[in-house]
């Protein structure tokens, strides 16, 4: 008998459409898998058994009526707990929203439902998406399915771990500085940060609004493309959503090809701090691209070495403003309201009790960077660096079609190793941040296991804004070549748990 949890999303949808299996059977198989192993992984904060089975039944009924099903109808999905879900808890990994039941669906949630995608539950994450390990969740860490003592990446570690442990074939993440791509890299899965504005932010709890971008997570490039197409596109409820056709990502994923493609290797993404096995697998990927017919050139983006510093001023600045809404007055936690305290005192007590240390650090850092006297030196300078980084990308993309790099400097590190060392933690996003600052599209896909620790390594592909389809064309070609070389998809080598 086929194990329904081992199929790709595309295979699952085809089996449901043909009647070989039902959406309810598929949903139940995944709910059983979650019940059996999520105690070890802790990918989910909330499992919506009833909602998932009802959504699956609706797909089966639709098929029984002879209606046409969408390309992902009946496929289960793990939704990052940053998207609002009507009637289903949404915590953002924070105590300040513990028990909150949103009265509305995010646009992404709405589109998933409209596509007949079955939402299994909400996945764990670093509180307010601030982190690179999912250790900053107020509800405890998530484990990496490849090695349960290691981090699954962050902030979307619940989504990546759910995929890598076959608890769901699809997941949604958000990427402010790498929170889709870095978890994908360290779990051997595929993650895409679409062009900024490509996927609506409506109902996605805001961290840093000029950087935040929702996007697809999957086990294959084609599955990511199918999900990308399901959630992307203009939304009048998000004024920064791009009013243009969605790039042809599915067509690109079905036609992987790099012949004649110009690929740039950024010199600045190497050197101190990069693990030897990561560089080895990256260099092999570059060699593979050459063998497949791409033209590879090395180029320099000198401002990229300032990206991390600029990011850790811009993101905290925006977060200090965005998180002001958590005041204990209208929703969420309220602490210390004993009738003697003013609203301001109650707000301060609520935020002290409701936010974890990383969120507090970033709020104070942003408050500092925006305060008069420091504004020009910090926030103002960081915005100028953002201009320089955008110019570096523009110059690079006049010479090449895509850029490639390792997604992360190292493989998954042990849980606890960097938990109270913010600067060490921030280095995990070294290669992913520039694309957020410029608003480009970027993907991470598996390129092998590091020889020294046997853990997954991610290859990052970066394309210009609105050229998301290039990621999928290149990614599909690389994935096909690697799968042929390995004899199977990389995740076949992960422990079965």
């Amino acid at each position: 008998m086929t194990d329904l949890t081992r199929l790709t999303a595309a295979e699952t949808a085809a089996k449901i459409a043909s009647g070989e299996t039902s959406a309810v059977e598929v949903a139940q198989a995944h709910l059983d898998r979650i019940a059996a192993i999520d105690e070890k992984v802790h990918a989910f904060l909330h499992v919506d058994t009833d909602g998932a089975l009802a959504a699956a039944r609706a797909v089966d009924d639709k098929r029984a009526r002879g209606e046409k099903l969408g390309p992902l109808a009946g496929v289960p999905l793990a939704l990052k707990d940053i998207f609002t879900t009507e009637g289903v808890p949404t915590t953002v990994g924070s105590k300040i929203l513990e028990g909150w039941i949103p009265p509305y669906d995010a646009t992404v949630t709405k589109r998933l439902k409209a596509a007949g995608i079955v939402i299994l539950g909400k996945t764990n994450m670093d509180e307010f998406a601030m982190g690179s390990s999912t250790e900053n969740s107020a509800y405890g860490p998530t484990s990496n399915p490849w090695d349960l003592t290691r981090i699954p990446g962050g902030s979307g570690g619940g989504s990546s771990a759910a995929l890598a442990s076959f608890q769901a074939p699809l997941a949604i993440g958000t990427d402010t500085g790498g929170s889709i791509r870095q978890p994908a890299a360290v779990t051997g899965t595929v993650g895409v940060k679409p062009t900024y504005g490509g996927v609506s932010r409506y109902g996605m709890v805001a961290f840093s609004s000029s950087l935040d971008q929702g996007g697809p997570c999957a086990r294959t490039v084609l599955d990511a493309a199918l999900l990308h197409e399901a959630i992307a596109g203009h939304d009048p409820l998000d004024s920064t959503s791009i009013d243009a056709p969605v790039p042809p990502v599915v067509e690109a994923a079905r036609n992987g090809d790099v012949k004649g493609l110009r690929v740039g290797v950024v010199k600045e993404f190497a050197g101190e701090g990069y693990q030897a096995g990561v560089m080895q697998r990256f260099n092999e990927s570059v060699e593979l691209l050459r063998e497949l017919g791409a033209e590879v050139v090395e180029l320099s983006c000198p401002s990229f070495s300032y990206a991390l510093a600029a990011y850790y001023l811009i993101a905290p600045s925006e977060c200090s403003s965005n998180l002001a809404r958590f005041d204990g007055l209208r929703y969420g936690l309220r602490t210390g309201d004993d009738g003697t305290r003013s609203a301001e005192e109650v707000t301060s007590l609520t935020r002290e009790a409701g936010f974890g240390p990383e969120v507090k650090r970033r709020i104070m850092l942003g408050t500092y960077a925006l305060s008069s006297g420091y504004y020009d030196a910090y926030y103002g300078s960081a915005q100028k660096v953002r201009t320089l980084i955008t110019r570096d990308f523009e110059r690079a993309f006049t010479d090449v079609d895509v850029l490639v790099s390792p997604t992360t400097p190292t493989t998954a590190f042990p849980i606890g190793e960097r938990a109270d060392d913010p600067m060490a933690m921030y280095l995990a996003d070294l290669c992913t941040i520039p694309a957020n600052l410029a608003g480009n599209a970027a993907m991470s896909l598996p390129c092998g296991l590091a020889p020294e620790d046997g853990l997954p390594v991610g290859l990052q592909i970066i394309a210009p804004a609105l050229a998301d389809d290039r990621l999928y064309r290149v990614g599909a070609a690389v994935e096909a070549a690697f799968t042929a070389r390995w004899g199977h998809p990389l995740l076949e080598e992960a422990p079965t748990l």
Partner: protein, 98 residues
Amino acid sequence: MPGITREEVAHLGRLSRLELKDEELDHFAEQLDEIIGAVARVSEVAGEDVPPTSHPLPLTNVMRPDTVRPSLTPEQALSGAPAQEQQRFKVPQILGED
């Protein structure tokens, strides 16, 4: 730039509406000092002539027609309120007695 002191952290806490505990002040002072020391290098690189970028998309004032559309009911809007009274959010005292 001078190091971040515990007094400065307490001030940032007040500005950020965080009632920080005493033991948090030293810990945050040390960490914020390290982070600010590391990110300060942004001021080394860009000259006067480089314009700032606040956003990846060159958007200004995205407008929509001013038409009535469905929204949350009062019950839905108040569904997460810590306290409510007469279809309103009930909040602690905001203004002083005088």
